[in-house]
């Protein structure tokens, strides 16, 4: 069984951004994404999901390095200043490279 290297891009940001973000990802050639609900704390204070406007989402995108960099750059430019958001990338091995 052959495995191939891809990037896993993880974005943690405000739940309010979900709709917009998903549209961005489609446009930026992500072949898919996975979202889980989260809470947390960062520079912009505690976001505890006790209440609609205070929830976070955790978005994962598996893609090639180029796409990951493009998405990261786009998000940084458009959202970093105004939204609670962090973003990180790691190397992963996938089985069916054609999917991502």
């Amino acid at each position: 069984m052959h495995s191939h290297t891809r990037k896993l891009l993880t974005v943690i940001t405000e739940a309010a951004l979900e709709g917009t973000l998903v549209r961005d990802l489609d446009r930026l050639n992500a072949h898919g994404y996975t979202i889980t609900d989260a809470r947390g704390k960062g520079n912009r204070g505690v976001r505890d999901a006790g209440w609609e406007a205070s929830g976070n989402i955790r978005v994962e995108v598996v893609c090639d390095a180029e796409t990951a960099t493009a998405i990261a750059a786009y998000l940084r430019e458009h959202y970093y200043d105004d939204y609670a958001m962090i973003l990180f990338m790691s190397d992963i091995a996938v089985l069916r490279p054609e999917k991502f």
Binding site: G50, E52, A53, Y79
Partner: protein, 314 residues
């Protein structure tokens, strides 16, 4: 005597301030607010069916104008007296020009338990008041020149949860009439106050959390969170009286004017004016104005409405 539903708000606030473990699951809060929004709409819709729609048009227009004006008044105060950034001032102004459905529910309960009548098309005015402030807020933040994506703004505004459920309820109530609603009354009407109590419990918990961030933003915001509603209530009383509303109706209009949005407007601002700091407006609306209105404001606005009517008559 204090309404028991207010006591639930206090219970939540005290529990929150003492950092109790008490938390309501988000799904419960959602469920309760969905039922409240639908119930308010349904009740209004039933009454709408009784009067020709055209006769309500003047009231609707007056109320829309009020939403514009209150936002336009709040903005310069925040910008020049409060020294807020343009986007922040615009966003906070939009919150105060719009309305809070929770506060509306409390004033309705207040009048109900005192058996004071009011015009039943108030939920319609509630819906009317939600929207204009958002549009003004966006224009104040961005100007008309820069290309705002109005289509997505309109989507955000008119298809948000609150408006859809209120309007949907209105239409269903209007179409079904009082007889048609009988079978669903137990859930939407009989349980209304009970659900309102649970809702206020959660609002108390949320309010307590906001108080922390208020300390950061200093006394101006606190003052604004109290003075602005009082001013708006005066405008509301004046308009209510001028429109020929009953004492109850005038008190409700004053309360609507005084209330600050914490659902529809924050969501719209977050998308359309993201550079505005959401903590500022939410901590003012939830940490100051909501508790002020619920605990002290409503009785004051009712007294004002009574006074205006006595004064006018006498």
């Amino acid at each position: 005597m204090i309404d028991p539903i207010i006591l639930f708000f206090l219970l939540g606030a005290v529990a929150g301030l003492l950092r109790s473990e008490l938390r309501l699951p988000a799904a419960v809060y959602e469920f309760v607010s969905i039922v409240l929004l639908l119930a308010i709409g349904l009740k209004g819709g039933v009454e709408l069916a009784k009067q020709p729609f055209l006769s309500l048009l003047p009231h609707m227009l007056v109320v829309i104008a009020m939403g514009f004006v209150l936002t336009l008044v709040a903005f310069p105060v925040l910008r020049y007296l409060g020294r807020f950034k343009r986007a922040d001032a615009a966003s906070i102004a939009a919150h105060y020009g719009s309305v809070s459905v929770g506060t509306f529910a409390v004033v309705v309960a207040y009048l109900g338990s005192r058996q004071i009548a009011f015009e039943e098309h108030m939920p319609l005015l509630l819906v009317m008041l939600e929207v204009p402030a958002i549009l003004v807020g966006i224009v104040l933040a961005r100007g008309l020149s820069r290309e705002t994506r109005w289509k997505s703004v309109a989507h955000e505004v008119f298809l948000g949860k609150g408006i859809v459920l209120l309007l949907g309820g209105l239409l269903i109530g209007w179409a079904a009439g009082p007889e048609g609603l009988k079978p669903i009354e137990p859930l939407f009407f009989d349980l209304f106050k009970g659900f309102l109590a649970v809702f206020l419990l959660e609002m108390g918990l949320i309010t307590a959390k906001q108080l922390g961030s208020l300390r950061l933003y200093g006394p101006f915001l606190i003052g604004f969170g109290i003075v602005m509603p009082l001013f708006s209530a005066l405008v509301g009383v004046g308009l209510g009286w001028a429109m020929g509303l009953s004492v109850g109706g005038t008190a409700i209009l004053a309360t609507l004017a005084a209330s600050a949005s914490y659902i529809a407007v924050p969501a719209a601002m977050r998308i359309s004016v993201p550079e505005a700091n959401p903590t500022l407006s939410l901590s003012a609306a939830l940490g100051i104005t909501f508790p002020f209105n619920v605990l002290l404001g409503i009785p004051i606005y009712y007294a004002l409405a009574e006074w205006a009517h006595t004064f006018a008559r006498g």
